[in-house]
């Protein structure tokens, strides 16, 4: 380990970034001969190691380091690329590494039998390269390049099963929606370049020295901010550009866990954190509103889903909304904190879900069932078969729901509390935002509870097959190890010794966005209680409901009794709360499917029709005029020929008539 300490953080960082690229190239060259994924694995292990010891430790809380090289000169401007290492970037890079590593290990088992596995490793390494490069980019254009590469890699991975029609539809959609954001990003870059004359982050937002004066009230700043936010919106799946993310679940689950939960979607948040100094109040408010809207809508959508991955996808969107709000209220440190914790538990959730799906797929294949292995309605009681998975999943769910002792508790509280402080500071309708966030938190607890109960509790529908001898077992250890690792990361000790005070979390301490809203002491007390209590209540209700609905008669007496005694409440619960909520969820989801996504579809249809019209116009009008012109020439030629009828006297008459006409004109004129 000492050797790492001797190389400069910048070199180390470059190494971290490039190793996966080499892995990708090597895999591409070797092709099918290497299907184990060792190359990628070795690369990511090395990257993680270097990132932790060579980059993160020297940089964190210590110093900001940067190094740049001239890339090319265009006109008089020399574009410099380089590595910018500060707390934010070092943390992000490390996070990417740490999340990627378990996913790599997990994939070895999960993707083992796939035909195109060599491609899988290649794509995965490419993705890691892009993502790692994105984190430490010095130059906005460089950032943009990696940004797009990330999108490209995700395109490849979502469409990994390219013979599956839905998968290729989904990856196309994902890429195109991301492209919309990219254009926003590009416009932002162009605006910054046009006004500041540089794209160098260290020059633009120099923490130490001469910062380029940016008049925050200028119109262009608002536009640039909105443009960057558009980029982040697409990448981080914010309403209404979130439509690609649920579809993107068509890719392998391991991919979903890495890309669409932990890393890529976080890039948008990361971008906003990076260019944060550029934002003025207008932009921040927009970010806030969109974030809240996203968080709320996605949480509601998640309530009514049956597809296990879709629930997680909406959950991700919802959490990203949280982070957005964090940025919007100026607490980008809290946003980063939540990003980090979310990366762990959401990745874990996906991996667990993957394990379940993996087994279900086996079962389906062996028993020749015609079921969707991802459908919650076919699951149940799995805790008996997959106890370890169950434990991991519960840990992750608790973290997501924001239970104490988990990392999620800290980070989520940090955002919600800061939001209250912010709203308190501003007064008025702003208070709606923290209230909505609170509601979202409760909804989150409910839907994740539903997921857990439906999957692991109750009775398994297809038990008969297992009894017949079809093996349905715990996930292999190769998959379990990463899951345990992530489960450990989802608990509070990784982030701070304090159980409850998020301020003491080391990430928060170091990043410190310097929000100086007046502290609401009572919020620090009440909000966690409210959230936790609400979460417990909703879990309880959910547990009761889902368990009870499934087994109304075979439940033991205590519950029946309980139900009897509290019948009305239960009825009330059942009809108004639970059913109402799921009903609302369904309706809203339908709205999302058919209106928001429908709008996307309509828009693409519109573009398509427009293109047809344009082509018709091109073919018949633009080209038609040309052909008409040529035809007219021919016709005139034809008219001229009329004289030429072979009759001598016509010729003479023609010639002399023209002479007479000429004479007439000239003389009478």
């Amino acid at each position: 380990m000492n050797t790492f300490l001797h190389i400069s953080p910048v070199t180390a960082s470059i190494l971290v970034t490039l190793l996966p690229l080499f892995a990708c190239l090597a895999q591409a060259l070797i092709g099918k001969k290497s299907i184990s994924g060792n190359i990628a694995l070795v690369a990511i292990i090395a990257s993680t190691g270097i990132s932790l010891f060579g980059v993160f430790l020297p940089i964190w809380n210590e110093t900001t380091t940067l190094q740049k090289w001239a890339w090319f000169t265009i006109g008089e401007y020399t574009l410099e690329v380089g590595i910018l290492l500060n707390n934010l970037t070092a943390l992000m890079q490390l996070l990417v590494c740490i999340i990627s590593l378990p996913v790599h290990i997990y994939s070895r088992a999960y993707m083992k039998s796939d035909e195109g596995i060599h491609r899988y490793w290649m794509y995965l390494s490419l993705f890691c390269f892009a993502m790692l490069g994105l984190t430490v980019s010095l130059n906005l254009l460089q950032l943009y390049i990696f940004w797009e590469l990330v999108g490209f890699a995700s395109y490849l991975l979502i469409g990994f099963w390219f013979t599956k029609e839905t998968a290729v539809q989904a990856n196309k959609k994902a890429f195109l929606v991301n492209r919309i954001g990219d254009i926003g990003f590009l416009i932002g870059i162009a605006l910054v370049y046009a006004h500041c004359g540089t794209l160098d982050l260290s020059v633009l937002f120099n923490q130490t020295g001469t910062q380029i004066a940016i008049d925050k009230n200028a119109t262009w700043v608002t536009f640039a901010g909105l443009a960057f936010f558009l980029g982040a919106m697409a990448k981080s799946a914010q309403f209404p550009l979130h439509v690609w993310l649920p579809d993107a679940m068509e890719g392998p689950t391991s991919v979903s866990s890495l890309i669409h939960a932990a890393t890529m979607v976080a890039a948008g948040i990361f971008l906003l954190c990076t260019v944060f100094p550029l934002f003025n109040d207008t932009v921040l408010l927009v970010v806030c509103i969109i974030g809240t809207l996203t968080a709320l809508s996605a949480a509601i959508f998640a309530l009514g889903q049956h597809d296990i991955k879709k629930i997680l996808a909406f959950s991700t969107i919802s959490q990203l909304g949280f982070m957005m709000v964090g940025v919007g209220i100026g607490a980008w440190d809290a946003a980063m904190f939540h990003l980090t914790t979310h990366a762990f538990f959401k990745c874990l959730l996906f991996l667990c879900a993957g394990a379940v799906i993996h087994e279900m797929t086996h079962l389906k294949a062996k028993a020749k069932l015609d079921i969707d292995p991802q459908d919650l309605r076919h699951l149940g009681g799995l805790r008996h078969f997959m106890p370890k998975t169950f434990i991991c999943m519960v840990v992750a769910s608790l973290s997501l729901a924001g239970f104490p002792f988990t990392s999620g508790y800290l980070s989520k509280d940090s955002i919600v509390i800061t939001a209250y402080e912010w709203a308190n500071h501003l007064r008025g309708v702003y208070v709606l935002i923290p209230i909505l966030l609170t509601i979202v938190s409760l909804l989150t607890a409910f839907y994740i509870g539903r997921l857990i109960f439906k999957t692991f509790f109750g009775d398994f529908k297809y038990r008969s097959y297992i009894d017949e001898g079809i093996i349905f077992h715990e996930a292999p250890s190769l998959m379990l190890v990463p899951m345990f690792f992530l489960a450990a990361g989802s608990l509070f000790p990784l982030f701070g010794i304090s159980l409850t005070d998020y301020h003491s979390a080391w990430i928060m301490l170091t990043l410190d966005a310097g929000t100086n809203y007046p502290i609401l002491a009572q919020a620090h007390l009440f909000i966690p209680i409210l959230l936790t209590g609400g979460a417990i209540l909703s879990w309880f209700m959910g547990w009761r409901w889902y368990v009870k609905q499934k087994y109304p008669l075979s439940e033991n007496n205590r519950f029946v009794h309980f139900a009897y005694k509290q019948g009305y409440l239960n009825e009330f619960n059942e009809h108004i709360f639970v059913r109402g909520t799921t009903g609302l969820s369904r309706i809203l989801y339908t709205f999302d499917r058919y209106v928001v996504d429908g709008f996307t579809k309509f828009f693409s249809w519109l573009v398509r029709q427009l293109s047809v019209v344009a082509y018709w116009f091109d073919k018949h009008i633009v080209d038609g005029i040309v052909n008409l012109l040529a035809g007219t020439m021919y016709y005139i030629g034809h008219l001229v020929r009329h004289v030429q009828n072979g009759q001598l006297q016509t010729y003479l008459g023609f010639a002399l008539t023209i002479v007479v006409l000429g004479l007439l004109y000239l003389i009478i004129k």
Binding site: Q649, G653, L656, V660, L664, I667
Partner: protein, 181 residues
Amino acid sequence: MIESLLFYAFAGLAILSALLLVHIRNIARALFLLFIVLFAMAGLYLFALADFIAITQILVYVGGVLILLIFAFMLSNKELLDDLQPSSKRFISLPNWQAIILALAFLSLMIYSYISWAQHMPKWISQAEAKGRMILPTDNNIKTLGFKFMTQYVLPFEVISVFLMMALIGAAHLSRKESNK
């Protein structure tokens, strides 16, 4: 006075026979009318004091061209003798109203411009009149012309001889064709 009368007589003769010439359908008669027109024209030349031209006109045209024309249609089939216009019973048939309009248009334009011209004759003519540099009836035209041909106009004179030779050979060759077949 008599001069004028004679002029009008010749002019009238020429124009009327020319009109008749283009109106008549029988080509043989037409050719004889041409004979009259040419004679009348020769007479008119005399009024312009061009006696030698008048003689040449009669010699070359009447003696040469006209005979040639008559020979031409006598050599060919009888069919040639008839004007091939579709016969019309009407007195004034207008088979070629376009041609008539065209010819009349030319005529009117020409007359119009001549009348406008008559107001002021060209300077050179008035100068010639003033300085007496015009041909008089007493001048020996033939001698002067001969002199001119051999001096001032010797070049065209020579060239036209080649021209005539060529026309001769050519015409001969073209008509000889028949025997080749």
